[in-house]
Amino acid sequence: MEHYTMNLTLKVWRQKNTDAQGKFETYPVSGISSEMSFLEMFDVLNERLINEGKEPIAFDHDCREGICGACSMHINGRAHGPWAGTTTCQLHMRAFKDGDTVTVEPWRAGSFPVVKDLTVDRGAFDRIIEAGGYVSVNTGNAQDANNILVPKDKADAAFAAAACIGCGACVAACKNSSAMLFVSAKVSQLALLPQGQPEKKSRALNMIAQMDKEGFGSCTNTGACEAECPKEISLTNIARLNREYIAAGLSYEK
């Protein structure tokens, strides 16, 4: 792989806090190595801003290995940038070429208010999980793990859904700011496993009720969420969520 350096023009959304008006600022950056990650490029820019006596750009990030789900940049119109199945932190500058203009925005959704610059508040996701994204089993109640048999294909499908990192790219990518992919991933994981059966009806109904309450849009099946999901969570999970909803709604006794 050939390495190269590049000069870019960055247009970044700056917003002092939730209530302030935001606007784009333009920053030229130079000498960026193709081996850097996208966030390392931001580190370089921030270091420069600090040295110039300006405020650095605030953005969420933590593990920088694509699993914590903190990073969340909308890059040139794409949630997490141009690479499929990739978080912002794993996006590398090889994806860009010398002279490119790169526009970076925060996730845009009423349910994800901007905290500062590119940082948003995704507390709505925690509240959706609170509504039912769990198996009610107190510590110490469990039987021997191998007493529960789970067919491999079911276990694999449950894992694929459980791989969701809660980054919110699905909401950011959806033209309706719908959280259906996120909700469906958790509902699917538990609906596929024997452990999730006792609460499957209340779980689906309560999580959807909370999702609506948080103000997320509805799903129009455009598929943008699946295309942008860094963990490539499948739309089949949304279909399963719909099935769970129908089954629960038609038979739940409460």
């Binding site: 792989m1 002092k16 190595s33 081996e35 850097m36 990650s37 390392e40 580190d43 370089v44 270091e47 801003l49 040295n51 300006k54 405020e55 650095p56 605030a58 969420d60 933590d62 593990c63 920088r64 290995e65 694509g66 699993i67 914590c68 789900g69 903190a70 794993q90 996006l91 905290v115 940082t119 995704r122 507390g123 925690d126 609170e130 994204g133 769990y134 198996v135 089993v137 107190n138 510590t139 110490g140 109640n141 469990a142 039987q143 021997d144 793990a145 191998n146 789970v150 067919p151 491999k152 276990a155 449950a158 894992f159 459980a162 791989a163 990192i165 809660g166 538990l190 452990q195 999730g196």
Partner: protein
């Protein structure tokens, strides 16, 4: 004098006896007992869930925007448990034995045995929560091997085991939040412990969004704030991982145990340039199927595919035939460093070795071909089938490698090099996980207890969850039972006011420096000192130099750091500054501890103390103790020793040959 409060009796009965005799808090009283938990990784989230389930009023704090982002999420390979599902000779004793031996006889036997005892319960609990562990076709749980063991006892979920376990604990935690038993404080950073009448009674936390300082009362305070590997700047830790909570506790009287015990993980993606902000681990599980080698010729610049088999040096298999590529991490790391230092390294930096899957990819391919009854498969067909098997086991890791390096690891061997990964040291705790400050506990990586001088792979997840789900619910009750008459202490108590004032003045001081250099500038410099002089190999002269350099750097930091913005707003630079300030004190203590320990053990390698063939040479006579350091003021630490006794697991020269 340190009292580790290890229960009497034979090793395998200690925990049973403890549980049978510890004091309990009745349900009505639990509702009035408040518990503060700092950190929501595996240890913190599981403790918060378990204590919430018991009925305690829990307040949990994390600096991230959600408890689900704690860095436990990034653990890849798996979690150990003595289930013996594979019928390959595993048992509680063997897990205990492997862990004590793997830790190079610097762990406390009683703690490790308890860990091994509850390991099975963890798997049961996680499966019940819906954690999707890997399974065999019959629907049973699958296992794999990790370094330093000869059995298959590691449970896993592809290369995302930590994620799945943390999400399980996070779900359990959120369930308690919904039930009103746990109150969650996201984006809050603990900046001091409040001690009243010798007992930990609360914390001062900064709301990271508003910048406001908050006082929180708790009958007890639990720190589950993780490890301090970021003192090296470059590590596999998350960017936000820090020592601040543990360090504030140290300054309030909690002793710091074995600070120099750092784990350097052998298989990480090598540094690519000065811009590097963190290092990425390639799971140890890869060593199940990847063979590590370097060219037999120095400075060989040929492509790996052009180097014939007999010109490759599979140095781990050569040096350690019994364990081969699955030697413990400390051994594998030093061996890689030895080869690279001797001029056999590969890649442009020459600071890397190959981790090669070709051999096992072909082996798997042949097995698959035979399963599918293909007669005379071509090498291409075999390779293709083998790739599919490898992709299923490690797909996410291979993808990650490809994204970071731009190379396809299915086609060319990975290049790897050791990197700072885990810290065995941490707050000194007794058998009950209580620090030397009464009512202040430390769980998970934040404490020093179970891994001695080197942690075996897949044991960190086990320890975090053991502490949170199965240990603290008992030991905390034993403490709080005597405290049921204590009413919630007013937040206007002078100790709260004083603590908040101190925190405020530190923040004011940081903000008022208005120097010329960024926080990262200092962090990078500190990291370089630590890596060069307190890293994979340490010696007396280097450590002494490091201490002087760190002191100078600290002085420079406090006179020249520049923090833009204000203190009363969301200000990530201010957060970083506070953390780096603490690392600048901890780094010195690590060097001091490394200097004091004139032996090599586990991850701590003193060049002065090695066997003729370059293996770590312990000195049990002089150093079979836990070094617990008491903070006495800037650059002043007093050493306390907890002698280690080995009853079941007699120390011998650790051999993986």
């Amino acid at each position: 004098m340190l009292n580790s409060k290890i229960p009497a009796g034979s090793l395998d009965k200690k925990w049973e006896d403890y549980k049978g005799h510890c004091k309990l808090v009745n349900p009505a009283n639990k509702r009035n007992m408040e518990v503060i938990i700092v950190g929501t990784g595996l240890a913190g989230a599981s403790a918060a869930a378990a204590l919430g389930e018991l009925g305690y009023k829990v307040k949990a704090f994390c600096f991230q925007d959600s408890p689900r982002r704690a860095h436990s999420i990034a653990a890849q390979g798996g979690i150990n448990a003595a289930k013996n599902y594979q019928n390959d000779g595993d048992s509680v004793f063997r897990l205990f034995y492997d862990t004590v031996k793997g830790g190079d006889y610097r762990a406390r036997e009683a703690n490790v045995h308890r860990l091994a005892e509850v390991s099975g319960n963890i798997i049961d609990q996680c499966v019940a929560q819906g954690v999707p562990f890997a399974r065999e076709y019959g629907g049973l749980l699958s296992n794999r091997s990790f370094g330093g063991t000869q059995v298959q006892r590691t449970f896993y979920a592809a290369g995302q085991t930590g994620q799945q376990l943390l999400l399980g604990a996070y779900s359990a935690l959120e369930r308690q939040v919904a039930l009103g038993n746990v109150t969650m404080y996201n984006r809050h950073e603990m900046l001091d412990i409040v001690v009243i009448d010798g007992k930990a009674r609360g914390i001062i936390a900064r709301n990271l969004i508003t910048g406001k300082l908050e006082r929180h009362f708790g009958h007890a305070v639990l720190l589950a704030s993780g490890g301090y590997g970021n003192v090296f700047y470059l590590s596999t830790n998350a960017m936000g991982s820090n020592v601040t909570a543990a360090w504030k506790a140290t300054r309030k009287g909690a002793f710091f145990g074995n600070p120099c015990f750092t784990q350097i993980h052998p298989t990480c993606i090598p540094v690519s340039g000065d811009h590097q902000s963190k290092l990425t681990l390639m799971s140890e599980s890869l060593r199940n199927d990847g063979r590590i080698w370097v060219p037999k010729k120095q400075n060989d610049t040929r492509k790996p595919s052009d180097i014939p088999e007999d010109e490759r040096d599979y140095y781990l298999e050569r040096r350690y035939p019994a364990f081969g590529n699955l030697v413990p991490r400390d051994v594998a790391s030093r061996a890689a460093k030895e080869r690279c230092d001797a001029g056999y390294g590969v890649g442009s930096s020459k600071q890397a070795v190959y981790l090669d899957f070709a051999y096992n990819m072909d082996r798997y391919g042949r097995i698959e071909a035979s399963k599918r009854q293909l007669s005379n498969p071509t090498p291409e067909e075999i390779r293709k089938l083998g790739k599919e098997v490898v992709a299923e086991k490690y797909g996410n890791l291979f993808d990650m490698y490809a994204k970071i390096t731009g190379e396809n690891p299915y086609e060319v061997p990975m290049r790897i090099y050791p990197a700072v990964h885990y810290t065995m040291g941490g707050l000194w705790v007794d058998y009950e996980l209580m620090t030397t400050v009464t009512g202040l506990y430390a769980l998970g990586e934040a404490n020093f207890s179970d891994h001695g001088a080197n942690r075996l792979g897949a044991s960190a997840l086990m320890q975090g969850l053991a502490d949170g789900y199965f240990v603290i619910p008992y030991t905390l009750g034993n403490y709080l039972a005597d405290d049921i008459k204590t009413k919630a202490i007013s937040l206007d108590h002078p100790a709260f006011i004083e603590a908040e004032k101190n925190v405020q003045s530190t923040i004011d001081k940081l903000m008022s420096i208005k120097g010329t250099k960024s926080v990262d500038h200092f962090h990078k410099k500190l990291g370089k000192i630590m890596w060069d002089k307190c890293g994979m190999a340490r010696n007396e002269q280097g450590l002494k130099e490091a201490i002087v350099e760190i002191q100078a750097l600290r002085k420079e930091f406090w006179s020249d750091v520049r923090i833009p913005g204000d203190a009363n707003e969301f200000n990530p630079e201010l957060e970083k500054a506070g953390r780096v300030a603490d690392f600048l004190e901890l780094g010195e203590l690590m060097c001091l501890d490394a200097l004091n320990r004139r032996e090599s053990c586990g991850g701590h390698f003193r060049e002065e103390s090695q066997t003729p063939d370059g293996e770590a040479q312990r000195d049990d006579e002089k150093f079979s103790y836990v070094a617990a350091w008491e903070y006495k003021g800037e650059s002043q630490f007093e050493l306390h020793k907890e002698a280690l006794e080995f009853v079941e697991c007699k120390p011998t020269q650790r051999s993986y040959k």
